[in-house]
Symmetry: C2
Subunit: 201 residues, 2 copies
């Protein structure tokens, strides 16, 4: 089990790295799944036993991230307001880029901006994450929040962050060569800006 699992994890990482390199070099549309599989030295068919779609290779950490954010909600400090807790979870959700190849987050942002398919998948995952967090948020504050309010609140916070992110991406549209570091920092900063109004009460 352990041996086989480690092998699978290694192949998975190889796929992500190969995809990163290829997307960087030949663009998203210019790279086929067959290319990625070949670069990672597996059969084309096997790619789809690691990732359900071509887009998903850009979100290899989605599950882990959501689980970590949920943990933050579950282990909330007593007396912390829902909105503040939500902000901490969202902040983690948007900034935890561990275990990923260098420049991966920046590449992903650029592809989010430029490739409709990537944007669609990202928004879908974001919504799922939002719902999952909302569910646990409602459980964490049974007195203050019913489920409907929790989802609406999570949606509002998520939407605000997303709006700020879009705004930053639009601005950097003019820079033909988007600086990876600046783009990532801006993403994190967007959270601060968007959530500021929520921290007052």
């Amino acid at each position: 089990m352990s041996l086989i699992d480690r092998r699978r994890a290694r192949t998975r990482r190889a796929l992500v790295e190969a995809a990163t390199e290829l997307f960087e070099r030949k663009g998203y549309e210019g790279t086929t799944v067959a290319d990625i599989a070949a670069a990672a030295e597996i059969g084309t068919r096997t790619f789809f036993s690691y990732f359900a779609s071509k887009e998903d290779v850009l979100f290899p950490d989605a599950d882990a991230r959501v689980r970590a954010a949920v943990e933050i909600v579950k282990n909330h400090k007593a007396g912390e307001a829902p909105a503040q807790l939500l902000m901490r979870a969202m902040k983690y959700l948007a900034s935890a880029d561990n275990d990923l190849p260098g420049g991966f987050a920046a590449l992903r942002l650029r592809l989010f901006r430029d490739v409709p398919a990537v944007r669609g998948r990202a928004l879908q995952l974001l919504c799922e994450a939002m719902l999952e967090i909302a569910k646990h948020l409602a459980a964490a504050f049974p007195e203050q929040l019913d489920e409907a309010s929790a989802v609406a609140l999570s949606g509002a916070v998520t939407g605000a962050v997303l709006g700020a992110l879009y705004h930053l991406l639009e601005k950097s549209d003019q820079a033909l060569d988007p600086d990876p570091v600046a783009l990532c920092d801006a993403g994190r900063q967007a959270i601060q800006v968007a959530l500021a109004p929520w921290l007052r009460p």
Copy 2:
């Protein structure tokens, strides 16, 4: 021009109606673009000169709706608060189901819930609408809102509505036969629920 335009509009409507009927009867995945085109009596290739993708046939009114919402923002009454104006625009955006075959909105909601591709496209369009509205909102309140705040605010309102919608869809998940009318009414009601907190200040 007028003659040719009317012909195109008629074909377009025929496509939407054919797609509605086929999706209803054979499901989304069970219907091919060729089926839709054949039912509307045009060549398969021609379908893509009317809609850029299979999903887009489910959002034939997207442009008009966004334009109408933008008009609402542009013609805002003096003294109306940004959040209230935004609510009016969102309300219109989510409830204007004119010129569509009966049951179309309910079908769309069901497919949004069940088909990932439809969900992805819908979220994408929603984001675009949100950005467009935000741009004009910032223009309408140059004193109170800079562009970043406008986008964050629009994102928050949009997210809240979306969250409420998701919650309602989840609840109706248990009902195996979702009542179209109830589903649509619930969608409109969701807006009221989600936006209630924004109306107090």
